[in-house]
Structures are given as structure tokens and as C-alpha cells.
């Protein structure tokens, strides 16, 4: 009487109708939820009707003989683990809603996988009356999805376990273990490649032992926690001070922080208490560096003097609040962190306003080094 498909949708209709009633009665949510649930109920009812009418599309509803002999008319054979998985997912879902978001996501993923697998399996079992053929088409459809996902999950597990192991063992031991395992894999690989006679079961056994070993050790290491890794602290420096006090700062290996080493607007060098500039395309050391306005100019500061020094870029003064009754000004100043002898620092400057045209005007633009009065170099912004 009822085909398998219409039974499924009938169940859906009843369930969603019940949900609508419960939801609506308890006024748990706004009208949107109720409308949504009513729509779901209607859709299920509609699908039930269609499936019933077309007999799951398997045979013409007029073909009474076909109805009797169609695969859908027979009870689909086979066992399936997917109802169980789907049940687990459905159970996890409310747990997730209470415990945490991550579990909700897990539940949703499990549910979705179970749904897809279950549906394809159910459909393929009714595809023909030949179970071997049916299994074949299930594989053809699902393997392209299952195999990569399973492969990725397996690999991910191995990699994750491996990383936990590496983070757990001392740094030096890590290298040795790495080398050892890599050698083992190569030897094992060449063994299989050259000795074709190696028993298949031996290979499988070795692989299993290896995988279980890595994952087991990984889980153990993850539980035990990683080794202590010393952090490379970069002391923060109070922004805007740009003073001569360099204590408590300075990035010793600062030149490592400089990626851009070519096509800079200028390299400013502190040597023997003096600043000089190297500018791309300009021979010698110009008396002043001309930098275009409103343009990011990449500047590299190199300290060749003994001590910790920083480069300060003085870009005149700007009005604090143009709408204020009496205008107040503040210095426009930027600076690098202090850097040890031989080190580099990098700074990007973008002068907004031109430098004073009159060379005797106050607030000239310049590079300076706090604590080294003789180190001054002019900046011209046209």
C-alpha cells in the first residue's frame, strides 16, 4: 500500500506537525520559527502526496504488475549502520546546545554524513533487484567522496599525532626521531618495492602497528602536554616618546625583522655620530632626502655606532583640532625602536604636508637620533 518513500515523508509530516504544535503552543520563539515549521510540514505533506501518487517513481502507478515486482515493493534487504550514526548525531545535537558549540558542529557534521550515506544506501538498495549491482552503484557514487575524506582524516590524525610527539620530546631528540622514522619509512618502502614476495599480511600488519603506534604515542603526548618553548620577547616601547632612553627595549636581532631590503626610498646610516643617506639611483650621500608627499616611503635605519640608538623622523607640527577656537599644535614625529650596533630597523613614513619652503623657517623636517646631537639629516617634502 504505502511505498517506502511515502512512509518516510509521512513520518516527516507527522513529526514536523507535532513540532509546529509544540513550538507554537509553548511560544518558545517568534513567529518566524512557527512559519518555518509550518512550511516544513507543508513541504513534507506535499512530498508524501507526490511519492504516494507516483509510487516512489519506480513504476507507473497504472502498471499494477510492476508495482508488485518493483524493488521498492520488496522489503529492502541489508543491514545499515547509518541509522545508528544518525541517532548518535541527533542525540549529540541537544548535548551540543547545552555543552558547547564545537559539539553542535560535530553533531551537525555527523548527522549530515549519516543522512547522505543512508539516503544513497537506501536508494541504491532499491535500484535493481541485483544486490551486487546495487552495491556497485553505491560505491560508484560514494567512494569519490568517502575515500578522499577518509584519507584526509587519516593523514590529519597521523600528522597531528606526529606534531604532538615532536612538541613533547626535547628539541634535539625531535630531530633524531624524525631522522629515524624517515629512514624506517624509506627502508620499508624499498623493501616492498624490491621484494615483491613480501607477504601482503606482513605489510598490512607493519602499517597497522606503525599507525597505531604513532596515534597512540600522539594521544599520550597530547595528554602529557608540550615541552616548554622559550618565547622571543620583543619589549614593547611607549609609542610617541621617541626619546634618548633606550633601556628595556631594542630588538637584538632586528635585522631579521626587515624583509624589504631593496627598492627602498632611502637607507639612513648612523656612523661616527653622523647620519648619512643612501638613496636609490643617487650617487654619494645627498645633503637632504626628498620624499614625495602622501606616499609611503620605506626607510631603513642602520646603526653602525657603538650603543643602542633609534631613528626619529621629525615632520614639523600639525594642528591638533582645526575647529578649536585657539589652535594648538603637536609635533609630528615617528621613530624606530632602538637598535644595537650593526642592527637594522625599518620605518614607513608618509608625510602629509610639504616641508617649509623657507630653509630658515622653524620646524624643518629632519631625521635625528636622540642622544646624538650631531646626527641630523634634512628631509624635503615638495
Amino acid at each position: 500500500m504505502f511505498t517506502t518513500g511515502s512512509k518516510l515523508f509521512l513520518g516527516g509530516t507527522v513529526l514536523s506537525l507535532a513540532a509546529t504544535l509544540v513550538y507554537g503552543a509553548t511560544e518558545g520563539g517568534g513567529p518566524l520559527g512557527t512559519i518555518g515549521l509550518i512550511s516544513v510540514t507543508l513541504v513534507f505533506a506535499f512530498l508524501t502526496g507526490i511519492n504516494f501518487w507516483v509510487r516512489d517513481s519506480n513504476v507507473s502507478s497504472m502498471d499494477t504488475a510492476g508495482i508488485e515486482s518493483s524493488p521498492a515493493a520488496h522489503l529492502a534487504p541489508g543491514r545499515s549502520m547509518w541509522p545508528m550514526v544518525a541517532g548518535a548525531g541527533a542525540a549529540l545535537l541537544p548535548v551540543g546546545l547545552i555543552v558547547g558549540f564545537a559539539i553542535t558542529w560535530l553533531a551537525v557534521i555527523v548527522l549530515m554524513i549519516a543522512m547522505v550515506e543512508w539516503m544513497v544506501q537506501a536508494w541504491s538498495e532499491g535500484a535493481s533487484s541485483d544486490p551486487v549491482y546495487n552495491l556497485g552503484i553505491r560505491r560508484r557514487i560514494l567512494h569519490p567522496m568517502e575515500l578522499p575524506v577518509l584519507g584526509a582524516v587519516g593523514l590529519g590524525l597521523i600528522i597531528f599525532s606526529f606534531s604532538r610527539i615532536m612538541l613533547h620530546v626535547p628539541a634535539a631528540a625531535g630531530a633524531i626521531i624524525f631522522g629515524g622514522i624517515a629512514t624506517g619509512v624509506v627502508l620499508f618502502g624499498s623493501l616492498i618495492a624490491t621484494k615483491r614476495t613480501v607477504a601482503r599480511s606482513l605489510v598490512v600488519a607493519l602499517c597497522t602497528v606503525g599507525a597505531v603506534g604513532v596515534v597512540g604515542a600522539g594521544v599520550a603526548s597530547a595528554v602529557a602536554g608540550g615541552r616548554h618553548v622559550a618565547k622571543h620577547e620583543i619589549p614593547s616601547y611607549a609609542e610617541g616618546t621617541c626619546g634618548a632612553d633606550t633601556s628595556g627595549e631594542a630588538d637584538d636581532k632586528s635585522s631579521r625583522a626587515i624583509a624589504a631590503k631593496s627598492n627602498l626610498a632611502a637607507t639612513i646610516i648612523l656612523q661616527n655620530g653622523k647620519l648619512r643617506a643612501e638613496v636609490i639611483g643617487v650617487a654619494g650621500n645627498p645633503d637632504a632626502v626628498t620624499l614625495p608627499r602622501s606616499t609611503d616611503s620605506f626607510i631603513r635605519f642602520k646603526n653602525l655606532d657603538n650603543g643602542k640608538f633609534r631613528l626619529v623622523v621629525n615632520l614639523g607640527k600639525e594642528v591638533v583640532d582645526p575647529k578649536a577656537a585657539t589652535l594648538t599644535y603637536r609635533e609630528v614625529k615617528e621613530c624606530t625602536q632602538a637598535v644595537e650596533e650593526g642592527g637594522d630597523q625599518f620605518i614607513i613614513i608618509k608625510p602629509a604636508a610639504p616641508s617649509p619652503r623657507d630653509p630658515s623657517a622653524p620646524d624643518q623636517y629632519s631625521f635625528t637620533v636622540p642622544g646624538v646631537d650631531s646626527a641630523v639629516l634634512g628631509i624635503v617634502v615638495p
Binding site: A265, I280, G281, V282, A283, R293, A353, V380, P382
Partner: protein, 410 residues
């Protein structure tokens, strides 16, 4: 197998029908390469750097041309000679080591032959040690700014000069451009003088310029940079040494405010209220007598607007896309002989040559003349700043006054 005779004749008649248009297209393509008015022709170098490139490309061009002709001839020969007339398939051979080795070695030798002079030319084009003049070139949507840093080069520059659209430099001098960008990547290219160089934000790249003779050389941005990329043009202007000195002096001359009571004077005050927040005019002072410093960084996305101090010493504007002079005067300037060019160029936009139409349209509605995201409704993505010059809704009177004011900026 025999070809049905009617099919064959249909083929022939179709070929005949296509022959004429085909030949016409080929002839046109060929003839267009001889066009006289082709200022961006890479085959007509007008300076050392472009000539080096041209020398390098010509040999491979001819070799490649010969290879093309030979291969094409052989293919055609085979197609006709061995076409399917129902004959038996000839005996097939496979592999001929001597031929294969020859066909590997000969192209390798050709490549080495091209490679050596290429590397040599690359080094020549990258050289900066013989620089005699440095000019900073900054690209932004959709115009180029040129600033001349203080230097001993270029015959000595004591105060920075800022200009746009037309890059002016002395002929016969090794000029080094230092190219960067304020917003997106652009590319600077004057085909008659050198290859192209990208303008990349945060990076300074160099490009040599040298012109044999005084003259004006056209170019355009060659890296797609947004809506008005096509309107991002530039002219390179080479002057003779004396002419360049005059040009520099003129660029740095003291500001002259228009005479009181003139339309230009009214234009100056309109300029102060409407324009000077974006456009710098050196020497311009406000009502209190304080110098007016433009702050395009607060209004324009790229942070810059052209310096208008000497607008009328240039012949075009807005990315060298619109003329300030009549077509006649333009033709005269572009076809001037090298000996006469500098003097003619230094006249600037004279009253006889001035054609205000383009400028008027620009001031009426700049984004209408040159598409720019300057529509206030669409400024959200650019922090409320315009890309390009906005429509300022000026009245016709204001436009007249501003034009009188601008015509004095020489």
C-alpha cells in the same frame, strides 16, 4: 577518394570571395605600421635607451620573421602537394636522431645568441651610475606627478619643483626617474625613450630617460589601474639646456596675485574657498597672509592633487588627456623642429592658443569628463574620500573667474 566537383568549385569560389577582403585587411595592417602620426611606436626610438632596446629586438624580430615565412611556406607546400587525392598512405618512419639533435642544438644556439646581448642590454638599462638628473615620478589614479628633488643634478635645483602630466627634462642628459605609486600599481612608459617600469606602492624603481633632441614624446599608463586608466597619459618634454634653465626659473618664480578688481582676483578668492584644500598653488596666501598649504590627503583617496602653480606652462591636464590649446597650436607644438621646440614650448599657453572648452567642462563636472569614483553616494569604500576630482557644482560665473585666475598661472 574523389572530391565531388561541385564541392571543389564551391571551395574555390568562396576562396575567391574571401581573397579581396583578406588582402585588404593584410594590406591595411601592413600599411598602418608606416603611419606617420604614431608617437608611441616602439620602432622609432628617440633616445639611447629606447635605441638599445630597438637594436636588441630587431635581430630576433627579423629571424623570427624569416622562421615564420619558411615554416609557413613549408606547411603550405605540404598542404597542397600532399593533399588527399586518394593515394596510399606513404611509408611511415619514426625517429631520426641526427635531425632531432640538430633541431635541438640550432634553437639552443639561437637562444644563446639572443640571450647574451639581452643580458648586456638589461645591464645597460639598469645602470644608475651615470645619472645626471633625478626626477621622482609618482603615479596615482589617474595622473602622474613629477617632483624634482633638491640636487646638483639637472643643472642644479635649489628648491623642489612639483608638476604633473608633462615631465620636463633637458635633452641629451641621462635622467633617472624614481618611480613609485600612491595607490595601486601603475606603469610608466614613453615608448620613444625607454621601456616601461611599474609604479608599485612602497617601492622605488628606477628608469633611465634620455632624449636625443628637444621634443615632446607621448606615453600612457600601461598597467590597468581602474576606471580611468585610459585617461592616464603622460608627455615627456625634452628641452635644450638653456630652455630647461628657463623652465626651472619659471617654475620657482614668486607668486603673483592678480590685480585688484579683476575677474582673476575674484577667481583667486573662489579658488581659496573651493580648490586650495586639494590643489597647491605655491605662494598663495589666505586673508590673514598665511601661506595656504593644501591637504589633499584629507579629501582624495590617493592623497594627492596636481599642483596648479604653473598650470599654463603645460599644454594638457588631467592625466595629459585634455588639451588646453587649440588643435592648430597643438599640431604646431607636436611637429616643431628640435631647434625651435624649446622656445615654442616655453611660451606656455598663450591667449591666441588657449582653448578653454576642455577646462570649462572639467570645472563644470570633472567626473563627467573623466570617469572617477567621485560620486558622494559611493564614497563609503574610500573612507569618504574622492577618487579623482569631485563635481564642485560651481556656477558659470565662478567658472569664468577661476579660468581667468588659472590663465595667469604661468
Amino acid at each position: 577518394m574523389t572530391v565531388p566537383s561541385n564541392g571543389g568549385s564551391r571551395f574555390v569560389s568562396r576562396a575567391r570571395r574571401l581573397a579581396l577582403p583578406g588582402a585588404a585587411i593584410a594590406a591595411l595592417t601592413f600599411l598602418s605600421s608606416c603611419a606617420k602620426d604614431a608617437p608611441q611606436d616602439t620602432f622609432q626610438p628617440k633616445g639611447d635607451n629606447a635605441r638599445n632596446i630597438d637594436k636588441l629586438q630587431r635581430t630576433p624580430f627579423y629571424i623570427a620573421g624569416a622562421v615564420f615565412v619558411v615554416v609557413f611556406a613549408v606547411v603550405m607546400f605540404c598542404v597542397f602537394k600532399f593533399r588527399d587525392r586518394g593515394q596510399k598512405i606513404p611509408k611511415q618512419t619514426h625517429g631520426k636522431p641526427a635531425l632531432e639533435i640538430a633541431l635541438t642544438i640550432v634553437p639552443a644556439l639561437i637562444l644563446v645568441g639572443i640571450g647574451i646581448p639581452t643580458v648586456k642590454t638589461l645591464f645597460m638599462l639598469a645602470k644608475t651610475s651615470d645619472t645626471q638628473c633625478v626626477i621622482n615620478v609618482t603615479g596615482q589614479q589617474w595622473w602622474w606627478e613629477y617632483d624634482y628633488p633638491v640636487q646638483e643634478g639637472c643643472g642644479g635645483i635649489t628648491e623642489p619643483i612639483v608638476t604633473s602630466g608633462e615631465i620636463v627634462f633637458p635633452a641629451k642628459m641621462n635622467v633617472l626617474l624614481k618611480i613609485t605609486s600612491r595607490d595601486v600599481i601603475h606603469s610608466f612608459w614613453i615608448p620613444a625613450l625607454n621601456g616601461k617600469r611599474d609604479a608599485v606602492p612602497g617601492r622605488v624603481q628606477t628608469l633611465r630617460m634620455e632624449a636625443d633632441h628637444p621634443g615632446i614624446y607621448a606615453g600612457q599608463c600601461t598597467e590597468f589601474c581602474g576606471l580611468s586608466h585610459a585617461y592616464m597619459r603622460m608627455d615627456a618634454v625634452a628641452l635644450d639646456a638653456a630652455g630647461f634653465e628657463t623652465w626651472k626659473t619659471n617654475q620657482l618664480a614668486a607668486y603673483e596675485s592678480p590685480a585688484d578688481g579683476t575677474a582673476a582676483k575674484t577667481g583667486e578668492s573662489t579658488f581659496l574657498t573651493q580648490c586650495s584644500r586639494c590643489h597647491q598653488v605655491n605662494g598663495l596666501v589666505n586673508a590673514n597672509g598665511d601661506p595656504v598649504i593644501s591637504r589633499p590627503d584629507q579629501y582624495v583617496y590617493s592623497g594627492a592633487a596636481p599642483n596648479l602653480t604653473n598650470l599654463m606652462t603645460r599644454y594638457d591636464f588631467a592625466g595629459a588627456s585634455f588639451d588646453l590649446i587649440t588643435d592648430d597650436c597643438r599640431d604646431k607644438l607636436w611637429s616643431a623642429q628640435p631647434a625651435d621646440f624649446s622656445a615654442l614650448y616655453l611660451q606656455g599657453v598663450t591667449p591666441e592658443c588657449f582653448d578653454p572648452v576642455n577646462l570649462r567642462e572639467w570645472l563644470r563636472n570633472a567626473p563627467g569628463k573623466k570617469p572617477m569614483y567621485a560620486d558622494p553616494a559611493k564614497l563609503g569604500p574610500t573612507d569618504g574620500k574622492t577618487r579623482g576630482m569631485p563635481n564642485l557644482n560651481l556656477t558659470e560665473d565662478q567658472i569664468d573667474q577661476i579660468i581667468s585666475y588659472l590663465t595667469e598661472r604661468k
